[in-house]
């Protein structure tokens, strides 16, 4: 039997670019759908999840992140948190997020410190587009940082044994260099994880 098409859903936390995440996944040939963050986990049939960014300030209104915590704890398949999704993942897993000393809006230069599986084959420094008031200030246990910028030391992180990833910047927008490649890398991670399961 041929394997069915990969299915990666986008959990909507109210971001301006949630629909862009859906579009990139669709452009990469993945079956995708945007679902509200109140969707019960048992209704999510997927090989991976993207937790979108959004207006909620993770430190102030955590309840607006809906069931994101449950997905991280119980889903089992790979999860990529972006912006608020990334900050929420960090705090949920025991790290800290707080208002940025210097928030970043728009064009920012990112340095990749560890290409790991997400940034494999990409340049060491690249232009990424940002839009955040808060950031991860302390990694959760068992997470490592993968990238930084001048004003934000944790631009990307991953769990050392579980398939959990977080990005402060936005790979889904047109102006971020190599964004499609990062999404493809995440899809590959989802595919590898499905084969193992």
């Amino acid at each position: 039997m041929f394997p069915s098409i990969m299915r990666v859903l986008v959990v909507d936390n109210g971001g301006q670019w949630t629909h862009r995440e859906w579009r990139v996944l669709r452009d990469l040939g993945v079956d995708s759908e945007i679902v509200p963050n109140s969707t019960p986990l048992e209704n999510i049939k997927a090989d991976g999840l993207v937790l979108s960014g959004g207006a909620p300030r993770v430190g102030l209104d955590r309840e607006k992140m809906g069931k994101c915590g449950e997905y991280i704890d119980k889903a089992g398949f790979p999860i990529l948190g972006i912006c608020a999704g990334h900050q929420f993942m960090a705090t949920h897993m025991g790290g800290k997020a707080a208002p940025s000393k210097v928030p970043e809006f728009g064009k920012t230069l990112i340095t990749i410190d560890d290409p790991d599986d997400l940034f494999q084959g990409l340049p060491d420094t690249l232009v990424a587009w940002e839009s955040h008031n808060d950031e991860v200030t302390e990694l959760p246990p068992d997470f490592v940082a993968l990238a930084h910028s001048d004003n934000c030391s944790i631009q990307a992180m991953k769990h050392t044994s579980r398939p959990l990833y977080g990005l402060q910047f936005h790979p889904e927008v047109e102006n971020t260099d190599n964004g499609y490649e990062m999404f493809q890398a995440f899809i590959d991670i989802c595919e590898a994880s499905r084969k193992k399961a």
Partner: protein, 315 residues
């Protein structure tokens, strides 16, 4: 990847199913609504009426150009002059969201009126993804109320048809090219038009200044681009600022307003970078606007902000 041909076939089939009676389409002459008019026209033929509203905030020559274009497109169409209504409704209004809401609601009331006259039950709009994303709702913050989303009243008595809701402009342009739509490459011009390119109350006088300045910006940039001096930006226009400064014109003190020139490059309007326009093009724009506007405008500035943190338009 997005396949325009497949999209066109699917949408025509869907529209035939969905639109059973007559429909009016809100037509601005831009790429989104023109693509919609072509798609719906293919699906329901003569049962479609395109309604173009002259709000009084249109650019130079726009009313004539759009009417001609709709005629060539071959859809039934009608021009409604509502400029007095709009200027009246915006008297004393300065807050950008209030402007947008008033303009949006007025559009809908006019379409309802026209629908009633023609016996239509459906309203077709060329709403695309950034329109509803930026208009907020649910947990999404309101960045700005797009006129075709934020102006929709709760008691709308027409059935809304929006075939392009999930597309971005670059995808709409692909559909437009596949349909051989002549305005496929036209720069975006949001519905609230020059009313949001005048900071503060959009009076007839202020709108006339913004109109003239926009025309000069368009002419100079298009000329430079045709001459190979620069790439045509995604969107390029002028904004009238309520800021006065001191100048000297003909040995006389001048105290006039400021025009901001804005030009950006983008793919989908969700992010944008300001255009690196050559200085001699900016210089020409500056000279022409200040000479033309005499003592009304004596200072021109260029906006060098990306989106985010800014948005493309100023309001």
């Amino acid at each position: 990847m997005f396949d325009p041909q497949e999209f066109i076939e699917q949408q025509i089939m869907k529209l035939r199913e969905e639109v059973k009676g007559k429909a009016v389409i809100a037509a601005s002459g831009g790429v989104d609504s023109t693509v919609c008019a072509a798609l719906v026209g293919k699906a329901i033929g003569d049962r479609l009426l395109a309604v173009y509203v002259d709000t009084g905030f249109m650019r130079k020559g726009e009313n004539e150009n759009v009417s001609e274009m709709l005629r060539r497109l071959g859809v039934n169409h009608k021009l409604v002059d509502a400029s007095d209504e709009y200027f009246d409704a915006l008297k004393g209004v300065t807050e950008p969201e209030t402007k947008r809401k008033i303009i949006g609601e007025k559009f809908i009331r006019i379409f309802e009126r026209e629908a009633k006259k023609s016996g239509a039950e459906y309203l077709v709009q060329g709403t695309i993804a950034p329109d509803w994303i930026e208009s907020g709702g649910g947990m999404r913050d309101i960045i700005k109320s797009h006129h075709n989303v934020g102006g929709l009243p709760k008691d709308l008595n027409l059935k809304l048809v929006e075939p392009l809701r999930d597309l971005y402009k670059d995808e709409v342009r692909k559909v437009a090219r596949a349909l051989k739509i002549e305005v496929a490459e036209r720069q975006p011009f949001p519905g609230p038009a020059l009313a949001i390119r005048v900071m503060g109350e959009p009076t007839r006088e202020a709108v006339a200044i913004a109109r003239e300045a926009c025309a000069i910006v368009e002419e100079e940039i298009e000329k430079a681009s045709a001459a190979g001096k620069m790439k045509l930006p995604w969107q390029y226009f002028a904004v009238l600022l309520p800021v006065k400064s001191v100048g000297v014109q003909g040995d006389i003190r001048a105290y006039g307003y400021t025009i901001a020139v804005r030009a950006v490059d983008s793919v989908d309007a969700m992010t944008a970078v300001y255009s690196k326009i050559p200085h001699d093009v900016l210089e020409q724009i500056s000279i022409r606007i200040t000479n033309k506007m005499k003592d009304k405008v004596n200072r021109i500035v260029y906006d060098i902000t990306h989106k985010p943190p800014a948005t493309i338009e100023w309001e």
